[in-house]
Symmetry: C2
Subunit: 480 residues, 2 copies
């Protein structure tokens, strides 16, 4: 098995040291201190300038430090040693007679499902999300502490990766360090799409793929251990057969024509309809700044998978470059389509409010240079004389969303723009997932942020506000 | 507001130091080194001896070290400073004219929903699970970095807490450090029940409660900010009104007659039907060891909420004390009820297999002294002459489950016991959630572990194994 051989090499390269089990965090903190991180911050500063930003403004002043720290934390796997993690967590466990069955320390199977991880796409240097499932069959009368399966997987996730290589490396490293009868690793991975391909729901539009790697008794077409592994995943609703339905986009949208070399069970398709990256300019000084960052993180920018990555990362960032034009509200007429009425029995106070709900967006957090994405809900007093035109609102959201932003400011700016044409009042709710909340140390993967701005009559009349919020609630789950 | 006053005091007690934003992990690592942790390990060793265990056996040898580390990590909030976290993460943000509305740096509202946390119940010292939702209304033209809301909440979660006090402290500390127009905190908390009250599904049977705390503009019956907060939570399906349906058990099952003092919006009911803790012996040397541990963690064992806690913790542990009796299989007859047949067209090979599925259990992880809980699925060849008796299997699962265990061993032991009476074969699948995987540094909250042991004909005939696994899959989601 290619994966196994590869990882045996990786394991051979791992140098044992005498640290104690469970002490890797402290160890890591010390390593981080000693890293030559000084080159990172000037490089990030060059990116900010290239994006047309004032690097000295308050929100960006410490961004180079934050980005450098996020990248260092996110690639800490380069500086971690599998042997340190597993060593001291191998426990003797009696098995059963091999003639009668498999269980405990000989045979049987141990599967940890739904380990949430984050890694960095080596093609574009953006984080991607992983649900990792690991199984192994104990051998030699010993089992490994369950949390170590997760920790070892994390060592390889915290690097610049492709999904299949990640599966192979986790599989190989576990095989080499635990020395079991076999290891199975299945990853379900999600890559953020280009902003224009984001759908309304938070995870819709993401590019999904699944990859597996197996060693030892899991190998072969009719391995009963592999069949058991697949069955134990199904008990948690994890069905790898389902994944090919959603793989309608290339894995990394910044490299649309990529064809991955897939070992094991991987499903990949390619598609058209992705905007050519050539349409975005990539200043060479920004590209070389990113190469400097890679070098500073301990990576080799000349490794073949990384050759075009600095340019792709800059392509991504340049989609969010500063734009000093004011939004053009010419031709922005408020529609009466979808007008609904407030449930107020006082007819004299009867006013029509309109709404545009679930408008998708993708912005770039100015504190961490990481995407935040979600939907915008807009309410206003309908003029009653316009044509329904969702695209005007969509353009407004894109204008304020597609830049270095914070969610609070974006919410206010959209509300003020709508208020400038709908003078009686405007209300804006933004719901977003922040990758900076989930891919760094915080790892609050389920968290989401909502912001609300209320102007004019929506502020003074709480019943019209309540009416709008109820309308949003009524449409949750109904959006396309 | 009582909560706010309380937290103002807490905030006043916080000493500022000159550390940089985002450096608290490194800071913490240094603090941990300096802690007088030496008293912890002998205390844990005394607990193991009190549980009738051989503290020198391989699986337990390093347990005192692991338990001490888990408790230190789990109570690190005593040694963290809110001011360090928030300081440096307050960003100037323009608001709108207060006469026209509220947004951005003045008014508006920012809500972070679904922050997953773990805390320790101060009544029994076991971890409990939290979904935390925090909202605030910016004031003074500044907003706080979103991740800081989660970090500050975690500072107070990583202590011995009651849900209401936790809500109050998070609310008050955020109010004092951000100085916004107001803060709202809502917690949904889950406490592990007594083993005998666990239900089949992983989170069923857990004791659920919700608590809120508010300050400033969120206070008052008709606060429009509070109404907006509630509406923004509802967009994510979080409905606090729903929680009173499931609060049919007292919060801490080790203290069944407790009535919490609830400020703000909290829902608590009490109930009967809980086994009296007096039925479990609590050796005084074990109780005093736990008091020593509290002292070593920087807590005051004489604080009134903690007065009975060491005893309750020992009561919990003593439910898992070692039992040297062999399981009695007398009267253990295999039933033919629920017998199903393998889908095999070869009639000569036709054999009936029986199953008992979704048998709940709660064990104590011997590596960390933390619960793992879930369900056991058992398959065997039905003798066809017994009465259906799920309770025999239930007793078998309790016998092997209710002790210091590892899931791999428990799976094997149950399989061997069933095999000893069903000589043709036995198959056992155990699915469990390990609190040690989610409440320590790993925090893989969605992870679950499945183990499988296969004996006799289930090993040699893969179609009967597949038939059993399909039966388990068919019943997922159907169990009571």
């Amino acid at each position: 098995m290619g994966a196994l051989e590869e990882a045996h090499l990786a394991a051979a390269a791992i140098v044992a040291c005498g640290c104690e089990d469970d002490d890797e965090e402290e160890d890591l903190a010390q390593l981080d201190e000693a890293l030559p991180g000084d080159a990172m911050e000037p490089a990030v500063r060059a990116l900010l300038v290239g994006l047309g930003e004032d690097e000295r403004r308050e929100g960006l002043r410490r961004t180079p430090k934050r980005v450098a720290k996020a990248f260092r934390d996110g690639t800490r796997g380069y500086r971690q040693k599998v042997k340190d993690i597993v060593q001291g967590a191998l426990f003797p466990e009696v098995g059963v007679d091999k003639r009668t069955g498999s269980a405990g320390g000989t045979g049987g199977q141990v599967v940890v499902r739904d380990i949430d991880l984050f890694s960095y796409c080596e093609l574009c240097l953006l984080p991607f999300s992983i649900q990792c499932h690991v199984g192994y069959v104990p051998s030699g009368g010993r089992v490994v502490g369950l949390s170590k399966l997760s920790r070892v997987a994390d060592v390889f996730a915290k690097r610049f990766q492709s999904p299949q290589r990640l599966a192979n490396e986790v599989c190989g490293a576990l095989h080499a360090s635990i020395q079991p009868a076999g290891v199975a690793v299945t990853l379900q991975c999600w890559h953020i799409p280009l902003p224009e391909n984001l759908k309304c729901k938070s995870s819709q539009g993401w590019i999904r793929t699944s990859h597996s790697s197996r060693s030892g008794v899991f190998e072969g077409e009719d391995s009963s251990f592999w069949n058991d592994f697949v069955a134990l995943l199904k008990l948690k609703g994890i069905d790898m057969e389902m994944d090919n339905h959603s793989s309608f986009l290339p894995w990394c949208p910044l490299r649309p024509h990529e064809v991955l070399v897939c070992n094991g069970h991987s499903k990949r398709t390619t598609t058209n309809g992705v905007i050519s990256p050539k349409s975005v300019s990539t200043p060479s000084n920004m590209v070389s700044s990113v190469s400097t960052m890679l070098l500073s993180l301990g990576e080799d920018p000349l490794r073949k998978e990384l050759l075009g990555s600095p340019q792709r990362y800059v392509q991504w960032l340049m989609r969010f470059r500063a734009c000093n034009l004011d939004v053009k509200l010419n031709g922005f007429t408020l529609n009466s389509a979808g007008v609904y009425e407030r449930p107020d029995e006082d007819a004299s106070d009867h006013r029509a409010i309109s709404s545009e709900l679930h408008l998708p967006f993708c912005a770039q957090c100015e504190h961490h240079l990481l995407p935040f994405y979600g939907v915008v809900h807009i309410g206003y007093f309908g003029s009653g004389d316009g044509e329904g035109d969702r695209s005007h609102f969509h353009a407004l959201v894109q204008f304020y969303g597609c830049k270095l932003q914070v969610q609070e400011r974006m919410t206010r700016q959209i509300a003020e723009a709508v208020y400038s044409v709908s003078h009686r009042g405007a209300i804006v709710v933004v719901e977003a997932n922040h990758i900076c909340m989930i891919s760094r140390g915080i790892e609050k993967i389920r968290s989401s942020t909502a912001t609300i701005a209320v102007l004019g009559d929506f502020l003074t009349d709480s019943s019209v506000k309540a009416c709008f919020l109820q309308k949003v609630l009524d449409t949750v789950g109904l959006e396309a």
